[in-house]
């Protein structure tokens, strides 16, 4: 039973354009949402997060949107840069000491 789904396994975006990565979840108990970025043969690194009391959080080129009624999380990257090419995982928590991760989306930025 996959509680967190990233339905797009891959995404290609032109450099300078906006990249939109999506994540859907089923467990309404989740109250903290995160995005991680992973390069090959490296551990994931934290990118940005949002708590359930907000619907938007912005950090530089990265913005995370949370739609609780739709149980949908998204990450916007604008403008996209070649160094953004990586696998992106969404992750969720409801205070039980564990993060539940999505299956990941491989983002490729085309120069």
């Amino acid at each position: 039973d996959q509680q967190v789904k990233q339905n797009s396994p891959s995404l290609s975006v032109q450099e300078g354009r906006i990249s939109i990565l999506n994540c859907d979840y089923t467990n309404s108990m989740f109250d903290y949402f995160l995005w991680y970025k992973k390069y090959p043969a490296e551990g994931p690194t934290f990118l940005i997060s949002i708590s359930s009391i907000k619907d938007k959080n912005e950090d530089g080129r990265f913005t995370v949107f949370l739609n609780k009624s739709a149980k949908h999380l998204s990450l916007h990257i604008v403008p996209s840069q070649p160094g953004d090419s990586a696998v992106y995982f969404c992750a969720m928590d409801f205070g039980n000491e564990k993060l539940t991760f999505g299956t990941g989306t491989r983002l490729t930025i085309i120069p």
Partner: protein
């Protein structure tokens, strides 16, 4: 700030051989520690987590076991590896604010 040491970076083992992967954490005390696995084409799956010395919780039935002999040491083991144990293994710990996970650099395990 905390640092996670994980080794080896790459490991090739024959089916049926034992496994021991070690993870140590610096810069924090009494951390929550986690073992995740990323199998080919799949997301990050939580295997084990520990909230203290000798306290291990298993998330999925499997061929692996975990131990925490010291506060900042977490070990992933197997007595006999299976082909399906191949994957990228990641050790992680919670940040000071107890919200974010910080990951080690990972071990790529290939069972042949």
């Amino acid at each position: 700030s905390q640092t996670i040491h994980q080794w080896p970076a790459t490991l090739v083992q024959p089916v049926g051989s034992p496994l021991s992967l070690e993870c140590t954490v610096e810069g924090t005390s009494n951390p929550n520690l986690y073992w995740y696995r990323q199998a080919a084409g799949r997301g990050l799956q939580l295997l084990f987590y520990s909230v203290g010395i000798g306290q291990i919780s298993s998330e999925v039935p499997q061929n692996l076991s975990a131990s925490r002999p010291q506060d900042r040491q977490f070990i992933l083991s197997s007595k006999k590896l299976l082909l399906s144990d191949s994957g990228f293994y990641l050790c992680a710990t919670r940040g000071a604010t107890n919200e974010k996970l910080f990951f080690g650099s990972g071990t790529q395990l290939s069972v042949l």
